[in-house]
Symmetry: C2
Subunit: 495 residues, 2 copies
Amino acid sequence: MGHQMAYQSLTRTFQRLHHFAHLGAIASWDQAAMMPAKGNEARAAAQAELQVLMHQLITAPELAQQLRSAEQENLDEAQRASLREMCREWRQANLLPSELVEAKTLAASRCEHAWRSQRKNNDWQGFLPNFREVLRLAREEAALLAEANGVSRYDALLDKYEPGMRSAEIARIFDDVKSWLPGLIERARAKQAGETVIRPQGPFPVERQRELGLEAMKLLGFDFDGGRLDVSTHPFCGGVPEDVRITTRYRDDDFAQSLMGIVHETGHARYEQGLPRDLLSLPVGRARSMGIHESQSLSFEMQLGCSRGFLQLLAPMLRRHFGDQPAFDADNLAKLFTRVEPGYIRVDADELCYPAHVILRFEIERALIDGEIEAEDVPALWDEKMMAYLGVDTRGNYRDGCLQDIHWTDTFGYFPSYTLGAMYAAQYFATMRRAEPGLDDKIGRGELEPVFGWLRENIWSQGSRWSTDELVRRATGEALTPAHYRAHLEARYLG
Amino acid sequence: MGHQMAYQSLTRTFQRLHHFAHLGAIASWDQAAMMPAKGNEARAAAQAELQVLMHQLITAPELAQQLRSAEQENLDEAQRASLREMCREWRQANLLPSELVEAKTLAASRCEHAWRSQRKNNDWQGFLPNFREVLRLAREEAALLAEANGVSRYDALLDKYEPGMRSAEIARIFDDVKSWLPGLIERARAKQAGETVIRPQGPFPVERQRELGLEAMKLLGFDFDGGRLDVSTHPFCGGVPEDVRITTRYRDDDFAQSLMGIVHETGHARYEQGLPRDLLSLPVGRARSMGIHESQSLSFEMQLGCSRGFLQLLAPMLRRHFGDQPAFDADNLAKLFTRVEPGYIRVDADELCYPAHVILRFEIERALIDGEIEAEDVPALWDEKMMAYLGVDTRGNYRDGCLQDIHWTDTFGYFPSYTLGAMYAAQYFATMRRAEPGLDDKIGRGELEPVFGWLRENIWSQGSRWSTDELVRRATGEALTPAHYRAHLEARYLG
């Protein structure tokens, strides 16, 4: 390669940021999974200091010039992609004045802290003033990003989590889903009404659940030399690609939540463990988007984990860890894990009802950011949409309605990623099955490498080299095509 | 207070360093207690980046002027002490050229890495070239520090771990110990030859050992809301004062090593947990010296933990966790925990033989650094002193002789701290018993607060406010007085 002074200098800066981010990631994992209560204040101060340092590094004045100079340098295609992602990360960090970042952090923290008791007390009126301030600042951020990026305000926030995605496209997709989802839910429930499902009988000792979870992770190819399983209140996938830390939580009356949570987080983990090793210190070596990340966890949990083949593998594992029960029959497990029951709470929702929760949130947050509605309009819209999409009455029940999630105390534009991820996952598996018609038989025999190999080659090893759209086209031969998602749901719930 | 611009600016810099050190400490603990193998390379790179950053901060050119200006500011006594410790930390970091620091790190890493197999292979000749280089660099460091601090070369290294202590003083103390220790060991062994000791019968399941350890920590006042117990290959006390992480290791054929290790580390931990909370971010709020730190672990392990009173508390705990055994009788435990058996290995040495191992190392490392002997002279001196102090023949046995410790691959001047700590601990307990003649009865009844209260008030809460000498004088009414140590050993082993 020719003269690349600016590019190499940028590479060094992003490596430094990568090293500091490593320490922050491990400290965050520790905070959630290991840290005793009294460590909190000192940890928060240390993490804040690290954030200040990293913000200083990425907003250093010389970077602007270096990014411009690097554009003129003799870079190969991979380096061009790397530079594009550096630019993206730099723009995200440099477009916002630090006073706005600080005001957002403070408002979010205040709103979140008060929300903890307000949710319990069903206190929407108490929540509203804090929420108005959070919304005001989010609109300010959106306006700044929108102007710089030449997109609408909501799209500017969406772009943080789904680079290149636009809300018009999402609205088009979600409108289609809305046209068939309520009917599908109704038919699935009618079908399931005549079925007998045997509930597993607990207790399920936590230590055995942990052993089962570890066995499932092993089956799913998690590399234990490069990661761990621990416990935290809110399960997550954290750590660093070289050392991925996933967590779960256990209830001794229910093994399924913990087990399928582990399967889900293992999908996230394998994405991280499979990222291109030689590029990990650069933005181009990281996961493509939140939707693509979710497509990995949902590939593992919904496409693979709830498939008949996988449940055939699971049945003897359950018997080995918990003793024999009629509920552990693979047919029964399939019924159990695909039970459709509309309810209030997104995180408890089944596969079929989940997108309704997401679409509702997308429509409300988009209208909020674009200024079509105000904070006080949320409950009425919530009630209306919950009734329309799920037939659930949430009037006056803020606790289980618009106060249930934590996202809007500081994040707008994230919700679509959940359902985009489910759609991508369905599209991957449709592609895999076309290429390998006997795939499901192989899964049932415990031969999972065809699935892992496809994901490794097409998604994990690609990092952020391509745009999301190009990544998906290269992997599946077509752009995002929600028809695969509908076909998957219809096959599973009506088939 | 008047104008304190420089002092306040220094305070902010040391707070930043404190926050970064927090992340480094948690990452180090994680590396030893949690991290899977493949995380190592990325972790090492992240930690190295942090070290570079912290070195930049403490060697920033403006600090020299700020430290001079602060001297002229209107500071109260506590701030003066704080400034003194800032100066001390600044000097340690600024006296050495960064090329020397780097060369030392590389040489130490090379020496340590090769040592792992050389020790196994009894390969002193293989070790020697690396050791010569390590020694050369240590002498270079010592010369620079000695010149700047106006002390001898070995004293300059000693001062890093024992601020204010001089090797002439240590030599005087150790010469005295040498005059009575071999005879005391002989008499103790003669006395013990006629005793019957019942060995505990294992196995001792690891999970029960862990529960016993946690119970011992609770009894010893460890604050579990501000710390944890985990497992690592080499037990240590790490983390941060607000969140102290101690570790142990378990063997299922021996509970004593893990249990007394936990008691030892809990002593270190309570020192950290008891440091002045409002000063933790400043050097003056940290532990005074390695010797004082060791005096806390040995106060817990040797003075308290092996006392008759404490063993009376331990006996029913052992029975509860492992079932009844004649070996768990308090009289038998006392014999078991004070068994004297000269051997090759320092870390396995009993309380009475331990100082001989330390004195030998002190004499050799002092002569090495001061240039009186060369690297190749070590084995002969080792053989001679092991025979003289412990009657142990190490000729040709480098593996269990001068190759047994890791310290000399990068650290000289640390060994005296171990025995100074034992002496301080004996002096504290002599002081406590004078003030409270019924102390041992109280300990036997589980009333340990008199011990903790004395240590908290006199040692823990004082941080680095006073010099070591003044700290010990204020606590015990006299300077370091090794006679208390001798009296303690004679009472325990001949009484």
